[in-house]
């Protein structure tokens, strides 16, 4: 039996990914769909959205196999950033930022805007963290560089060699940028790489990061 899904699901999910991030949107949608339609609805939503959004497929599969979706644990990330003078973030994931930002009370934090890809009005996103997060344009990254600075981005699955990241990250990172931040932190929200090719993400070398914080031992496939 095919469960009935809300009209406009794909469109609303696309909007949500820009507003709160691909992981956070997938987690929210899967939990809400499960609440209203149960397992068959999650399976149907995975069929509808999975091929286009590999992160949704991974998270729906996680819910279907384990009945829960672990939220990002910020402890290790906060520990790595504890002595950073400032933190520049590429990408926005509300599930991760909601937990990380309160753990970094002393560091200035900024989100990079204008780096391409689906992007919400980041000023509106930053307004959820009053006086804690500012928005800087891509060209202003040098103001956030420094020998104690950190550059953070979200990773959507990695193996020993390759990590899936937002294309915006590749717009920013190059040899000069890598040598201008002490910490290049990838926060892996998925763990293993998704089983489907993530059409909206780009690949980078795992070795580009000075630290890759893993998301436990979750097997999403």
């Amino acid at each position: 039996m095919t469960a009935e899904l809300p009209l406009g699901l794909a469109l609303s999910f696309t909007v949500a990914t820009a507003e709160i991030g691909m992981f956070s949107a997938a987690r929210l949608f899967v939990e809400e769909i499960a609440l209203t339609g149960g397992r068959s609805a999650v399976e149907a939503a995975r069929d509808v959205l999975g091929r286009r959004y590999a992160v949704f497929d991974a998270i729906a599969s996680q819910w279907l196999s384990r009945g829960r979706i672990p939220l990002p644990d910020p402890a290790e990330v906060a520990c790595e950033l504890a002595d950073s003078s400032r933190v520049l973030i590429v990408g926005a994931e509300s599930d991760a930022l909601d937990r990380l930002v309160p753990m970094l009370p002393d560091q200035p934090i900024a989100l990079v805007s204008g780096a391409g890809g689906p992007e919400a009005d980041l000023h509106r996103v930053a307004a959820n963290y009053p006086d804690r997060i500012e928005v800087v344009s891509l060209g202003k990254w040098t103001a956030w560089a420094g020998s104690k600075s950190a550059l953070l981005t979200f990773v959507y699955g990695a193996d020993d060699h390759v990590a899936n990241v937002s294309p915006a990250y590749l717009r920013l990172v190059g040899p000069d940028v890598r040598a201008s931040f002490r910490t290049l932190l990838g926060w892996n929200l998925l763990g293993a790489r998704p089983r489907l090719h993530p059409l909206h993400l780009a690949e980078t070398n795992v070795s580009d990061f000075s630290v890759l914080v893993a998301h436990g031992d979750v097997d999403w496939n």
């Binding site: 040098t142 560089a145 420094g146 020998s147 040899p175 040598a179 201008s180 002490r182």
Partner: protein, 172 residues
């Protein structure tokens, strides 16, 4: 008709006999971090500087810088130098991050400063020392940091040699 391929010229030296991946395999970053801990007190600073030296720039530069620094550290250790250097000497020049001029802040230089004592040992007056220092810390980060780290290791080696008693010195 078979394609004629002229024989490859016989190599007369060691140039380009090894793949880039074998260079990367030979230059273990951890050995460089250990070497840098002779001139930097903080391990994370040493890891940052090591990443800039062996993680950026042309492959032959990475491997060459790694080899020179690890050999210099080996000499320093054989002379008795231990990790955990004293506070940076005042007679140093900083290595600037490659950033456009902007608002002044306290972390726009790399954590490794280059001591001038080794240069003062070979040239005078000061303007010559400063000219050499300028040349050593100029250029891309991997280049400037490798130079500064090598001079810093030389400084520790020279300090150790200067501290040796006269009867320990080699006969002329």
């Amino acid at each position: 008709m078979p394609i004629h391929r002229p024989p490859l010229p016989k190599l007369k030296d060691h140039r380009h006999r090894h793949s880039l991946s074998s260079l990367a395999e030979a230059a273990d970053p951890q050995a460089l971090v250990d070497a840098l801990l002779l001139v930097l007190a903080d391990r994370r600073d040493a890891e940052f500087v090591a990443r800039c030296i062996v993680g950026e720039g042309p492959a032959h530069h990475r491997a060459a810088s790694w080899a020179l620094l690890v050999v210099a550290a080996e000499i320093a250790e054989r002379l008795g130098c231990k990790p955990g250097p004293k506070t940076q000497a005042p007679d140093t020049v900083s290595v600037a991050l490659r950033l456009p001029p902007g608002a002044a802040r306290d972390d726009d230089t790399f954590p490794l400063a280059m001591p001038l004592a080794p240069l003062r040992a070979i040239v005078e007056p000061s303007r010559h020392v400063e000219a050499l220092a300028d040349a050593l810390v100029d250029g891309p980060a991997h280049h400037a940091l490798a130079n500064a780290a090598l001079v810093a290791l030389f400084a520790r080696i020279l300090e150790k040699l200067d501290a040796r008693l006269p009867n320990e010195a080699e006969p002329p």
